[in-house]
């Protein structure tokens, strides 16, 4: 009796709630930290990014129109899904990052806890970042945070799951839609986590994940005029150049710093909108 042949998974893109192969038809081999072949992963193209930005733009207004309570529930649901498939995620992280199983499990636990943390932020952001302004005149004046819109993320290259969660959950929790380029060498934890959004009621298009060659993809995203902000966490040495290119359409640019303020990433993709209204009989 022969051994059962296992069913290999094809890792595809996540665009608008669906899992297409790259329109280019390309894929690239992804290796484990130990150098073994893991999978052929879809190698996204400029056109995949274009489709993802269209999807994100269309999803963003709906996502923002949902109540903050609802957005929190959806993100928490995502954390629930991740928890229930925690072992699978841990295995991905272990293989991708070359960690001991215990450390991989701990990393997944931290990633899920961060999702929960962000889930709880959705309905606090307005109170913490917004407020009433006591202007000298007969006006009611209040400032509220609003999402920047579509945020492009060059996800952390090394921290395949935790880093990815940090990069995408922060902008999503404040109402943005995201087009993320997954870690080039370690994409499978991110792709697996992203798959779970489809069973978490996250509206299609709010999170789009494109795997592929970062140096090929990122330059297209930072000059895409319908992208409002970019997180260059995983851009490495190319970050300076990408940041300059983002200037063409005055994008908000996030780059990590040492001694990070825990809310800076979240604040980076929030716009303050201030409304004045007359007060009179």
């Amino acid at each position: 009796m022969s051994e059962r042949l296992d069913v290999k998974k094809t890792y595809k893109l996540l665009v608008n709630g669906a899992f297409p192969r790259s329109e280019s038809g390309r894929s690239y081999p992804v290796m484990s930290a130990g150098g073994d072949f893991l999978a052929n992963v879809a190698q996204g193209s400029r056109k995949d990014l274009r489709d993802a930005v269209v999807a994100a733009r269309s999803a963003q207004s709906k996502w923002w129109a949902a109540s903050a309570y609802n957005r929190g529930q959806v993100l928490y649901r995502w954390a629930e899904m991740a928890e229930s498939r925690g072992a699978e995620l841990a295995e991905h992280v272990r293989v991708a990052e070359g960690l001991a199983a215990k450390d991989a499990r701990a990393s997944v636990a931290r990633a899920i806890d961060r999702l929960v943390w962000y889930a709880g932020w959705t309905d606090k952001v307005a109170q913490v970042l917004g407020g009433a302004n006591p202007v000298a005149g007969p006006f009611f004046n209040f400032s509220l945070p609003a999402p920047s819109g579509v945020v492009a993320v060059v996800a952390d290259q090394d921290s395949s799951l935790e880093g990815f969660v940090e990069c995408v959950a922060a902008p999503i929790c404040v109402g943005n839609a995201v087009v993320a380029i997954a870690s080039e060498r370690r994409p499978t934890p991110a792709i697996t986590l992203a798959e779970m959004t489809v069973t978490s009621d996250l509206p299609a298009g709010v999170l789009n994940v494109v795997s592929g060659v970062t140096s090929e993809l990122a330059p297209h995203l930072v000059v895409h005029e319908d992208v409002d902000g970019v997180d260059l966490t995983g851009a490495g040495a190319a970050g300076d150049d990408l940041a300059r290119r983002a200037a063409a359409s005055i994008k908000r640019v996030y780059r990590p710093r040492d001694d990070e303020n825990p809310l800076r990433r979240l604040r980076s993709f929030v716009e303050t909108s201030t409304v004045w209204h007359t007060i009179g009989q």
């Binding site: 005149g137 007969p138 006006f139 007359t278 007060i279 009179g280 009989q281």
Partner: protein, 330 residues
């Protein structure tokens, strides 16, 4: 709570039915009046107050100031409305109205003297054939709390004694209760009783409180036939204010553009200084325009204002400030 009648209310004067809402084209009943007046655009208090604050910074110098002071003098309704009024006070007021500055014949007479009905005859005879008109408050001034019969009698009494102008008060209670038809009909009735006399309708804006109310009441009064709309009796806490005047002038301007009939505006109560008066004239100048820069269409109901105008007028000419005692206390 009562429901506003949708049929015209009947107003009888000495048993005769007074043509009221029915007689005014366009309004068959109170409902139609409410729909029309209620559809007027609202007034934003902050915007109105901001606008007058900006207009109050206008700087009137030299010949502009001289022209404006003379215009203001010609627009004064020199007023005495006290329980203590006597024939002597009224006749000296009339003398002042005709010749405000005894030392300067170039000073124009004021527009009118304004008195209670029982003093109209005296004022009339004191003024002789001068161009100064006699205005009389009527309709149970200042509260207006009397039956229509009594109000109309009050009006007829003043008119028959020689009043050229009648300053009536609206029924603020009815207005605030939403009985706009009653307010309207009462004005129509008073207008009829005025005969040839001009009718000024006092809105008592201090009791209407909101600018929306001021605007609506202005329209109701104008639609009902007012020749003038007037801010205040001078007998309540809040009298004429610049923002209220602005709202009324805008209403009069819009009414004139709609109907072709120019209704005057009178501001009354609390206007004591030349500076105050000039600010009103700036508002007139820049919001209603030159049709209202005329005593036929704009008045100041005041008493002490006149002396200040005279002092400022002389100061403009001589360059020296004037001793208040130069002018009579009337």
């Amino acid at each position: 709570m009562s429901i506003a009648p949708l049929r015209p209310i009947e107003i009888r004067d000495r048993g005769v039915l007074v043509p009221a809402l029915i007689a005014v084209p366009g309004f068959r009943d109170e409902g139609e009046l409410r729909r029309f007046v209620g559809a007027l655009s609202g007034v934003d208090a902050v915007g109105v107050e901001g606008r007058v604050a900006k207009l109050a910074t206008r700087s009137l110098k030299k010949s502009t100031k001289a022209t404006a002071i003379d215009l203001a003098i010609s627009m004064v309704d020199l007023t005495t409305l006290e329980g203590a009024d006597t024939p002597g006070r009224v006749s000296s007021l009339c003398a002042k109205a005709m010749r405000p500055d005894p030392a300067d014949a170039t000073v124009t007479s004021v527009a009118a003297v304004c008195v209670y009905p029982d003093l109209v005859a005296l004022a009339r005879s004191s003024l002789g054939d001068s161009p100064v008109a006699v205005a009389s408050v009527a309709t149970a001034f200042p509260s207006g709390r009397a039956s229509l019969e009594v109000k109309l009698l009050d009006v007829r009494d003043a008119v028959s004694a020689g009043a050229d102008e009648i300053d009536m008060v609206i029924d603020r209670g009815a207005f605030l209760a939403g009985h706009w038809g009653r307010v309207f009909d009462e004005i129509v009735a008073v207008k009829a009783a005025c005969g040839a006399a001009h009718l000024k309708v006092i809105l008592e804006t201090g009791e209407l409180v909101t600018y929306d109310n001021v605007k609506r009441a202005s329209w109701i009064a104008m639609l009902a036939g007012a020749d003038f709309i007037k801010t205040s009796t001078g007998k309540v806490g809040v009298n004429a204010t610049l923002p209220v005047a602005l709202v009324m002038l805008e209403a009069a301007r819009d009414f004139a553009e709609t109907t072709g009939r120019v209704v005057g505006v009178k501001v009354a109560g609390g206007i004591r200084t030349t500076k105050d008066a000039l600010r009103y004239l700036v508002v007139v100048n820049e919001t209603a325009g030159d049709a209202w820069l005329d005593p036929a269409c704009f008045r100041f109901g005041a008493s002490s204002l006149l002396n200040d105008l005279l002092m400022q007028r002389r100061k403009q000419r001589t360059g020296a400030y004037v001793r208040p005692d130069e002018y009579s206390g009337d």
